[in-house]
Amino acid sequence: MATESGPAIDPIHQFALHPVVSILVAGHDVSLTNSGLFMLLAVALTCLLVAIGARGGSGVPGRLQAMAEMSYEFIAGMVRSAAGETGMRFFPFVFAIFFFVLVTNLLGFFPYTFSVTSQIIITAALALMVFLTVIVIGIKEHGLHFFKLFVPPGVPIYILPLVVAIEIISFLSRPVSHSVRLFANMLAGHITLNVFGAFVVMLLGATAAIKALAVLPFLMTIGLEALELLVAFLQAYVFAMLTCMYLNDALHPGH
């Protein structure tokens, strides 16, 4: 949520990458960008929460410990319900993905911060990681049986080729929808907030009678902020939930 330099609306500017620490290695630019900085921050915050929460010690759990335990229970319940008991060995993977997405989403809410998940390259990398994990685990565990995923049971033989083609296309489009859902939600949310924020600035620059109208977009911004907070959590949940469902396909194909 970058602030406006003038009344002109430029909501795309906030997503620009710029180097924080310039590093050149053998002529290649490997600078630490604002995106990288906020990714590191998100990982550090998550590690801190879990490390302090899991320290234990006292019999009565403190706030942080309760929070760490609740997040463990939440993710564990999600993995169990979507991928079964055998899916629990992917618990660390799902936990890491959920918290990375959630913390980067939430960090983007503070003014002057950078929303990492509004970059398609980040969400695409996460989604491809899940996609390739599903293929590798599926083939390793089940061999050619994994491809039964594309052949739903109980389909009449004469429409089977069509169904298999649709199943394959839907399987291949998973990383696209998986990544674009998160990216588009965060991008559109931040643009919307920025546009309404710019309306406030534009109205305040007008004459006295119109200035009072600036309250309306301001109230709208507050409402949108609440909605975006919900969306930030929901999209992290949906991203992790879909990860579980896709992993379930790798572990139990043909269901």
Binding site: I9, D10, P11, I12, V180, R181, A184, N185, L187, A188, G189, I191, T192, V231, L234, Q235, Y237, V238, M241
Partner: protein, 79 residues
């Protein structure tokens, strides 16, 4: 009209057309919550267990509206 002006006009028309998709997502979200409420009033004891699915369906449905909104925004500000 100059070709450049025509392109700008087409950009705004396209953004407006893309925004229709958000209305379609509105139909989806309305159906979702309407049907949920319908079921919830018939069997209130089942509400707790299905709340997660409701929210999941909401997020997936709402994402499609966001896709349309994204196209509109990209046409307005990034093209």
């Amino acid at each position: 009209m100059e070709p450049h002006e025509l392109a700008i006009a087409a950009k705004y028309v396209g953004a407006g057309l893309a925004a229709i998709g958000t209305g379609a997502a509105g139909i989806g979200v309305g159906t979702l919550f309407g049907q949920f409420l319908n079921g919830a009033l018939r069997n209130p004891s089942a509400v707790e267990g299905q709340f997660g699915r409701l929210i999941f369906g909401f997020a997936v449905t709402e994402a499609l509206g966001i896709f349309a909104l994204l196209i509109a925004f990209l046409l307005l500000f990034a093209v």
